[in-house]
């Protein structure tokens, strides 16, 4: 029986300021629990998490959640080897795509996969067992789906978007077990791979700016150029090609030619 480990974290609500469960992580837990018949599922969190949030994850159906005590100021370079030592025995490690607290850079799954020496598969939407292997479905742009057969231990970042309504069972929430454990030893050495929250970047936090400054080149224009720009009617949008002549067949052919020139249709 192979084991799945799901890494979860709490999320700080932007409006209420309260800690809640992260939607992406909850989708990962729900996806793992669908495989509970064939695989053992561990739900793991490192970092500060209140019992309320931990029980929110238990309400998805997990019987037990393991919380590892990590200082709040632990940076990613130290967190990654710690997580790696915790989940090293699990065949598949499931995470969300990006954390809903802190910077949410989305680099952690990649750094964790590098630390464990495993392949990393991003944007996973489905997971099915096939004998000893797993069939992993990856979401692409424009609704595309890629299927991968994974036969080795891997790290999967679960895409939250397509997951529907998540289960919330009050009984499981109350009956589940929250296990707090001390930080495992022997994880002092930080990994060399710097990540978004790594030691090499010093971040300072300021209140949210509603509007961002768009980067634009400063145009060195004379006053005369600016005046001409204000009355310029040539370069303003006048539309593209206009086809008025010909019969409907010719016009349809013109549209089809345009679609084919720009590779919008594939026949």
């Amino acid at each position: 029986m192979s084991a799945l480990a799901v890494l979860v974290a709490s999320r700080l609500d932007a409006v209420s300021g309260r800690s809640t469960r992260s939607r992406g992580d909850a989708a990962a837990v729900a996806l793992a629990l669908r495989q509970a018949a064939t695989a053992q599922v561990r739900v793991v969190s490192a970092g500060a998490m209140s019992d309320e949030v931990a029980r929110d994850y238990l309400a998805l159906g997990a019987g037990r959640i393991e919380l590892f005590d990590v200082d709040a100021d632990t940076d990613a370079a130290h967190l990654v080897p710690l997580l790696a030592s915790v989940v090293a025995n699990s065949a598949l490690v499931l995470t969300g795509t990006r954390a809903a607290s802190g910077l949410g850079s989305g680099v952690l799954p990649y750094a964790l996969a590098a630390a464990l020496g495993r392949p990393m598969i991003a944007d996973v939407v489905d997971l099915q067992p096939q004998g000893a292997a797993w069939i992993v479905t990856q979401a692409g742009p424009k609704g595309a789906r890629r299927r991968l057969r994974v036969t080795v231990p891997a790290v999967l970042a679960i895409c939250a978007a397509p997951s529907g309504a998540l289960r919330h069972s009050y009984r499981d929430r109350m009956a589940g077990e929250v296990v707090r454990q001390p930080c495992p030893n022997g994880t002092a050495a930080p990994v060399s791979t710097a990540t978004g929250t790594g030691t090499s970047t010093a971040w300072s936090f300021v209140p949210l700016a509603r509007r961002h400054q768009v980067l634009a080149a400063r145009a060195r224009q004379s006053g005369h150029d600016r005046m001409l720009g204000a009355i310029d009617t040539q370069s303003a949008s006048r539309g593209g090609t206009l086809i008025d002549a010909g019969n409907a067949d010719d016009k349809a052919r013109a549209i089809l030619d345009y679609l084919r020139t720009h590779a919008l249709v594939n026949f």
Binding site: G143, T201, Q234, G239, G240, A263
Partner: protein, 369 residues
Amino acid sequence: MRPAGSSARRIDPRRPASIGPSGLRRIVLGGSEGERSAATLAPAPTASKPLRSAGPFARCVLVVAHADRGALDDHAREVVAAAAVLAEPDCEVVVAVLGACQDDAATWGIDRMLVHSAFDPEAYQPDVAVCWMLELQRLFNPAQWLLADRGADGDLGRRFSVAAGLSVACHVVELSRARLRVRAAGGFDALARPTAVMLLERGVARAALPFVGLGRQGTPPAWPQTPPAAGVDDLGLQAGDPELQSLEEADLILAAGNGVTDVALFNALASALGAATGASRVAVDDGRFPRAKQIGATGKTVSASGYLALGISGAMQHLQGIKDCRHVIAVNRDAAAPIARRAALTVVEDSGTLMRALLDQVRQQRGRA
């Protein structure tokens, strides 16, 4: 204003002027040389844009992007523009493109473009792409890497930064030479100095530039022949069904307006083209289409690569909904409809007649293919 009849100084609008070598009207006060004609407001012939920097270059900044149908998409162009705006005169803007790209490099501020035309976007090869980027790093040793933070580019940038051990900033929403800004959770922004790898969100920079780049074509490093990662086998890519996916992520949209009365024909054409269907507010209010299909200010904002508007006049509210569409084709009986100014191709024809003609041709050519 001085009262009428006073000795107000008046300026003769037809006083003599000569056209100088720079094309400007030159008036010598009190002079009598030149032509006596009223000033015309014709704009000067558009001068070509100046070069950002002619070199020599001591450093470079590298942008890596996946091409979308033989061109860089708007997000990638913004990233290239950000690189060009931030580059010092001795810094070269090098763009490495995965996939064929026929864009004019100079227009977008690119000094050197390395196009790997043989790239296969269907294949699953993230590790090979990372090896290719490590080879780029060895050849160019760029001061900074810039990528668009979406889809394949964002994935590649994260993989590369971890593999190369470089500091990375993701979801960058604001960038300058001195600092970058990232949205953090809990109502805060995080500021830092620019990192080695930066993944930029949409809208960080304006793609239009007042200068051009050198626009040279370079040879990218050879695609690494490393075997794909063991244990992960690609079982194939399946394109999405346009009718099942949401309109926002559709790639080709066939949209109906008030001019479309034959909905069955419209749906047949959409399924023959493999396009998702949308509608304008009038067509939805009329009950011909469900509310979920509405595109526009009160409906959905779509970002399709191709948008075929049938019988849509193009009200401002509808144009807001298609502002991110790349290629807009309009079919309308009125050549002066506002959509004609937005569309790259406008066909003046009754939408029913054109749909029948188009459906016949699509069926013929699909049958032949």
